[in-house]
């Protein structure tokens, strides 16, 4: 069955901004799908609101729409492009839901768009749990018995039958948002209410609790001819009850006999056939009772998923790529296995290694969030590690996490391991509650002599896993106790997966000593291939992992080569935007004729797709692992600028050992980051900086504050995403901050800056070839100073900055890039206050905004930067003038507050957003409106606005509120604000604050009386009242803003929307239409070649 010829163009939907539960795995799947479809000659039309993605690079799809992912906006794209088909399965739940809405609304029929891959009936049967349960019963499979309910009363009837604990899952939500486990009636009431509210259809599923059962997942693919293969089995280390996205998982399944595995396989095949996913992949989850093997089917996702991305990386079988080809009519046996190239894709991959995936959390950013892991996903990223044994993969995995521990090791304090004591009772109590620290608690429990059974019983983790971990602990004890380490002993530890750094700590040596000793003893890793077939057939694609065994399969070529260091696990402050830059660098350097070697540990990424680089090392981004690759490959240099902080921190150590770094020197990086050296530079260049100082103690800090004056911005040096960054107004707070901050980063002093209140801020990204500097753009922040640049919305070109200030910023950027001898990317942050342009920060590396700016201007900054790093000059690309933005582009941040109950959504200097969206249009209002809609905010075109602002903000609030009033919005305000507004001629209805009685503002928010909330914080500490109001807005999905500048921008947006609907326009048309490509005269092939 060859590919379909009745369709010529395919519409593909991305998944929008990175949020908890839907991360860059969908950039990976979408990118693969776009490439797979274009290969077949289809015109590919892509819609995704997330500019940080690789898939939205304008040379990937034929028409790229960076537009909001809502039914309404996608419909406009359909109207404009009239695609023949829609592939709904590559963009996560978002794409699936929109596709279903478009189908239900008749839009697809109206424009003659065919759903391919999975049709509406199949999607609905898989997604609607009632239909799914019935379908499974039809084929003789059991589901956790329970029922769907639309009210608390019905839920109570169900729970009466099934008893506690019960699991509550809202229908049609992402990552289980709004669900929970209830152990008693009170909790049940709470969870059911929250779930009903979270479900767009007001429905929750009350399930029989299978907490403690073993959890398995199968990745299944099916073609039009009904051929079905299982790509991968995944076993969860954490038992049922912890969301699979929050669980440590292992591939392949390890504790099932063939008989049991085949039962799951048979059930999975029956399931995909019954649901009728007729061409593509799906993920099916099972629970297995550890006591009697009873098997229940939990759910099926009729699309690619986080697990399918993991399965693709774990096996080398590109599920999304194959899925896209199946969707256009190919059969599995007509497609080649991409790795062996000589055998067909109609097979089941086999592994001769073990894969461990470990989630990464960000609870340090949300200290008030409930850190218990449950059915609602909370992880923000993950790593994958490959080893020849479970123990090795486990140890490599913990080395990959970049969480400050040098592997699977306990912290110095019990508190850091989430413990209050290390007696058996405390340990067992802790193990009963799944948290991010539980793996370390298990280690402590084993060290304390608790037996495998006790630990397994408390944690519900299969004793097989605990016994494996016990072997690691025993090996560590042996190693610690030997008099002198012999070659055999060291080799054994390496085979267990211990890193040099951890071995050093065990025996009180330095990492360098262990490394030297290891090298002297001739102990080096060997590299093995991930080849889908356990060595049965030769592999054509070098996808490698390290282990300590006899045979090394990684053969160095004689080509010129570069190593690109990836960005490791996604975390807040380091996400898909850096993967975009790494992939861009690898592609550009491949075009320059280099063999490109990628090193990364993040399975969700495009960079770890084995066909993005010439060679892929799926390895922890640690000094040890990178050094070994460098030793083997002997590259001309390493690209460290594109992967965020991870490679940059490594660069210093690598440089010290003499490893060549491409582009900007490590010394220049240090000069930009080291406070004193940078100050000297700024003075030399006559660039103003906010008054500042360094402090090692609270006393020193107070002295600095006296000198520079409050308020001050304090932060530990060398941190990411504004970790532990705060604005401090007095000595008392400074002292209390200092106690906490010192623990956050003991080796480095605390940086103290004068905080420029009410300043405008801007970011500049630029590329330098060492001689000339190309300014990518000046992006003005929409929120005022004091809000982390990663959390602030921004706009390019600037809309409220004076031209002379913009020019000054550009001049400063050029001066800094030249003085630092930057070769590659540089990002400079500026603030403007009282007519003075201050430089706040210089980062001689790729910034978070590089992809956004590249999409806005059509200039692929990261690719140009990579070429500069290997000696190319800007003038060779004809980039004689700085690029222009055609229209206005707004970046808006997206936050995880809806996933983390108990967290205040107030923005501050500590970054907390997980993702971003872009709105691009002809005017600021429209661009901002698009960005808001894309970020999931409901923009009320009319209605009621509640205003409650800090006294100091009142004067500035007047013009904004007046504009809303003039547009016909009804204004409600808390007493003080209402009086102030009324006195200035704005009618405002007073409404009670929380402590003033009822119904109060929170009640009104909950009742749906309010369409938008403007709430600026009352003073330096968020008060409970404010907090309750903001949380109510979040939970009810009411548009809210906590800054006046954003309120003003929203006003522009609403006015824009009320008068004219913004148009959709593809990036290709927008940029080419505006001549941005033409004026910069890019050489052929420079932005192509994906």
């Amino acid at each position: 069955m060859p590919k379909r010829t009745d369709i010529k163009s395919v519409l593909l939907l991305g998944s929008g901004p990175i949020v908890i539960g839907q991360a860059c795995e969908f950039d990976y799947s979408g990118t693969q799908a776009v490439r797979a479809l274009r290969e077949e000659g289809y015109r590919v039309i892509l819609v995704n609101s997330n500019p940080a993605t690789i898939m939205t690079d304008p040379d990937l799809a034929d028409a790229t729409y960076i537009e909001p992912l809502t039914r309404e906006w996608v419909e406009r794209v359909i109207e404009r492009e009239k695609p023949d088909a829609l592939l709904p399965t590559m963009g996560g739940q978002t794409a699936l839901n929109i596709s279903l809405e478009l189908s239900d609304a008749g839009v697809l029929d109206q424009y003659g768009v065919k759903l391919i891959g999975a049709d509406a009936r199949a999607i609905r049967m898989a997604e609607d749990r009632e239909q799914f349960a019935t379908a499974m019963q039809r084929i003789g499979l059991s589901v956790p018995h329970g029922g769907f309910v639309g009210s608390l009363e019905e839920a109570l009837q169900v729970v009466e039958k099934i008893g506690f604990p019960a699991i509550v899952r809202p229908s049609f939500t992402l990552g289980g948002t709004g669900g929970g486990i209830a152990y008693n009636r009170d909790e049940f009431d709470q969870v059911v209410r929250a779930g009903l509210a979270a479900s767009p259809v007001g429905e929750v599923l009350v399930d029989r609790s299978v907490i403690g059962w073993k959890e398995f997942e199968l990745e299944v693919m099916r073609d039009h001819a009904d051929n079905v293969v299982i790509v991968c089995s995944i076993e969860n280390f954490d038992a049922m009850g912890v969301h699979t996205g929050d669980s440590i998982t292992v591939a392949p399944a390890l504790t099932l006999s063939d008989l049991e595995y085949q039962r799951l396989r048979d059930a999975a095949i029956a399931c995909i056939r019954e649901i009728g996913v007729d061409a593509g992949g799906c993920n099916i989850q099972f629970a297995v009772n550890p006591d009697d093997g009873e098997m229940l089917i939990i759910e099926m996702n009729p699309r690619v998923s986080r697990s399918s991305a993991l399965a693709s990386k774990a096996t080398g079988f590109p599920i999304a790529r194959i899925g896209a080809k199946l969707a256009v009519g190919y059969r599995l046996d007509e497609l080649p296995n991409a790795i062996t190239q000589m055998t067909p894709a109609s097979f089941e991959p086999v592994l001769d290694y073990i894969v461990v995936k470990i989630p990464r959390f960000a609870f340090e950013k949300f200290p008030t969030a409930d850190a218990t892991l449950g059915v609602q996903m909370k992880a923000v990223g993950e790593i994958m590690a490959i080893g020849r044994t479970f123990k090795e993969a486990w140890m490599k995995g913990f080395r990959s996490l970049e969480n400050g521990r040098c592997g699977w090791e306990c912290s110095d304090t019990l508190a850091d391991d989430g413990l209050t004591g290390d007696d058996p009772a405390s340990l067992l109590a802790a193990l009963r509650r799944p948290t991010a620290e539980r793996p370390f608690q298990i280690k402590r429990a084993l060290q304390a002599g608790l037996d495998v059974e006790a630990i397994s019983e408390a944690s519900h983790i299969d004793p097989w896993f605990i016994a494996q971990l016990e072997e690691i602990v025993e090996a560590e004890d042996r190693y610690a106790a030997v008099e002198a380490v012999t070659r055999d002993e060291l080799l054994e530890m390496k085979r267990f997966g211990f890193g040099d750094a951890q071995l050093a700590r065990i025996r009180g040596a330095s990492e360098a000593q262990v490394r030297e000793e290891r090298w002297n003893l001739g102990i080096r890793p060997s590299y093995k291939m991930v080849d889908t077939c356990a060595g049965e057939f030769p592999a054509a694609t070098p996808y490698l992992y390290s282990t300590y065994e006899d045979e090394n399969e990684s053969i160095r070529s004689d080509r010129r080569k570069v190593v690109v260091l990836g960005s490791g696990p996604n975390r807040i402050g380091q996400g898909v935007e850096f993967d975009y830059c790494c992939v861009s660098a690898a592609m550009a350097l491949a075009e320059e004729g280099y063999e490109t070697i990628m090193v990364n540990s993040n399975p969700e990424t495009v960079s770890t797709d084995f066909d993005v680089s010439d060679k892929l090392y799926f390895e922890p981004l640690t000094l040890e692992n990178v050094l070994e690759i460098v030793h083997l490959e002997q590259p001309e240099g390493l690209v460290v600028q594109t992967g965020g902080q991870t490679p940059l921190l490594l660069a210093k150590k690598l440089d010290a050992i003499g490893v060549p770094i491409l582009g900007t020197s490590v010394d220049a990086i240090d000069r930009a980051e080291d406070r004193e050296r940078f100050e000297a530079l700024a003075r030399e260049l006559k660039i103003e900086q906010p008054a500042n100082g360094l402090a090692m103690s609270a006393a020193e800090a107070i002295k600095v504050a006296e000198r520079i004056g409050y308020p001050v911005l304090v932060r530990p040096s060398y941190v990411l995403g504004g970790r532990a960054m705060e604005i401090v107004y007095d000595d008392e707070s400074l002292k209390s901050y200092f106690e906490r901050a010192i623990r956050a980063s003991p080796e480095h002093p605390v940086l103290i800056d004068r905080f420029l209140e009410d300043a405008f801020e801007a970011d500049v990204d630029a590329v330098s070839d060492g001689e000339r500097v190309l300014i990518g753009g000046v992006m003005q922040h929409i929120e005022d100073a004091g809000i982390h640049s990663g959390d602030s919305a921004c706009v390019v070109p600037p809309y409220l900055l004076r031209d002379d200030h913009v020019e000054e910023m550009k001049a400063h950027t050029r001066a800094l890039a030249t003085a630092l001898h930057v070769v590659g990317l540089i990002n400079v942050q500026f603030a403007v206050k009282d007519d003075v342009v201050y430089v706040l920060e210089v980062n001689p590396r790729a910034s978070r905004t590089v992809p956004f700016l590249s999409k806005a201007t059509g200039i692929p900054l990261a690719r140009i930067a990579a070429r500069c790093m290997v000696g190319r000059k800007l003038e060779e690309f004809g980039l004689s003038s700085d690029p222009l933005v055609s229209g206005v582009a707004v970046k808006e941040s997206v936050f995880p507050f809806d996933k983390l109950p108990g967290v205040d959504p107030l923005l501050g200097p500590e970054m907390r957003s997980t993702g971003e969206v872009m709105g691009i249009a002809d005017s600021f209002g429209h661009a901002f409106a698009k960005a808001q809609v894309a970020a999931g905010n409901k923009l009320p075109l009319s209605g009621r606005i509640a205003v409650t602002v800090h006294d100091e903000d009142k004067p500035n609030a007047i013009p904004i509120v007046r504009r809303f009033h003039e547009q016909g919005y009804e204004i409600w305000a808390t007493a003080g604000t209402a009086r102030y507004l009324q006195a200035r001629g704005i009618p405002a209805k007073p409404v009670l604050k929380v402590h003033e009685g009822r119904p109060n503002l929170v009640d009104h928010l909950i009742s749906g009386d309010i369409d938008m909330l403007i709430n600026t914080p009352l003073g330096k500490h968020a008060q409970h009242d404010d907090y309750a109001i903001r949380r109510a807005a979040i939970e009810r999905g009411v548009l809210y803003t906590t800054t006046l500048s954003a309120a003003s921008a929203l006003c522009d947006a609403l006015i824009g929307l009320r008068f004219r609907k913004p148009e959709v326009l593809s990036l290709q048309q927008r940029v080419i239409g505006a001549g941005a490509f033409a004026t910069t005269d890019l050489e052929p092939g420079m932005i192509t070649g994906v």
Partner: protein, 346 residues
């Protein structure tokens, strides 16, 4: 010391079924899956009364097992049955070696013997080509297996090394079985009033099994439905004049795609064979009465045949799949349909 032909299987699980599969007699099995023994052993998973593999090579033998079905550890099981095993081997390297050099004679011995002595013993060991092992693994005496539920058909099973799962699948479909030793004369079987004959899997070189031509001639002459698996398939093919040859390293595992030519459908199959029947497109050279019904999509080798006119089907792979996927169980149903139709041309 264990001696045999070293081969590798890519099955991820099912080590106990593999060890007890009589087709592995005379072979040292390398598991490409690196962790073996995780779920222990369970008596129900045995495919024969004892393990037949000559030895086991693994990367890591799990120190602990965990599974509700388990009744002991793999270590104890191996020790109890005197099966030599070796761990901490770079099994991927060994697999790649076998892949390029072919399945070869090998031994597992203790260091005390010395390398030279081990090598000498290995070289003295007979190679697999030319070796008939059916006599070693077959039953000494015929025995019955009762049909589950009502008896629908009576089936004679030639035991060249039959796996219990094959017997269970037949019995489970209402077949009353009599399992005969491999050397039982055709006449004895044919005179027992049977509806069909099942030729089982088994070890060794099909070319070395004596009396094949006579056996197959006699069985086919009665036009009784005939179903062969693995060695049984090879013997049927040889009986009709086909040629068998040794594959470089064979097919062993649970993930090989096999295409059923009749429907073009692909099934994921359980495989365990070192020899194959030569084919040329959909023809079987030397056996004009046979048509190719299944091929292996990895290397286009022959995976199944049917007779042009008689009720005879045979497959090279293992539809009984213990271990392995259940995609090919329809073949047992097809055998039953043939028996329903009775003897004579199809």
């Amino acid at each position: 010391m264990a001696l045999g032909e070293v081969v590798f299987t890519t099955s991820l699980a099912g080590y106990q079924e593999i060890l007890t599969d009589p087709s592995y007699a005379g072979q040292i099995v390398t598991m490409t899956a690196p962790l073996i023994g995780n779920y222990g052993v369970a008596a129900d998973d045995d495919q024969a009364a004892r393990p037949w593999a000559a030895g086991l090579v693994v990367r890591e033998l799990s120190g602990r097992y965990s599974n509700w079905r388990a009744d002991g550890s793999l270590q104890d099981y191996l020790a109890r049955h005197g099966i030599a095993s070796i761990e901490a081997v770079d099994t991927r390297r060994l697999t790649r070696h076998i892949r390029s050099e072919g399945a070869m004679r090998a031994g597992i011995g203790s260091e005390e013997l010395g390398e030279a002595e081990i090598l000498r013993r290995v070289q003295e060991h007979p190679p697999m080509a030319g070796l008939d092992l059916t006599g070693v693994v077959t039953t000494d005496e015929a025995y019955p297996v009762a049909a589950h539920g009502a008896e629908r058909f009576r089936v004679a099973v030639y035991d060249f090394g039959v796996k219990r799962r094959s017997l269970e699948l037949l019995a489970g479909r209402g077949c009353e079985l009599t399992v005969y030793p491999a050397t039982t004369p055709a006449s004895e079987v044919l005179d027992s009033g049977i509806d069909g004959i099942f030729l089982s899997n088994g070890p060794g070189d099909p070319g070395a099994v004596p009396g094949v031509a006579e056996l197959i001639d006699s069985l086919a002459a009665r036009e009784i439905p005939l179903f062969g698996i693995c060695l049984g398939h090879q013997l049927i093919c040889r009986g009709f004049g086909a040629e068998t040859f040794k594959l470089l390293y064979g097919h062993r595992g649970g993930n090989h795609p096999v295409q059923r030519l009749e429907t073009q459908g692909v099934e994921i199959t359980s495989q365990n064979h070192g020899f194959a029947v030569r084919c040329d497109g959909d023809l079987v050279p030397g056996a004009p009465d046979l048509l190719v019904s299944h091929i292996n999509l990895n290397d286009r080798t022959l995976e199944g045949v049917r007779h042009r006119s008689l009720p005879i089907v045979a497959v090279q792979y293992h539809p009984e799949s213990a271990p392995g996927p259940h995609d090919s169980r329809y073949l047992f149903d097809e055998f039953l349909r043939m028996m329903e139709n009775g003897p004579g041309p199809t």
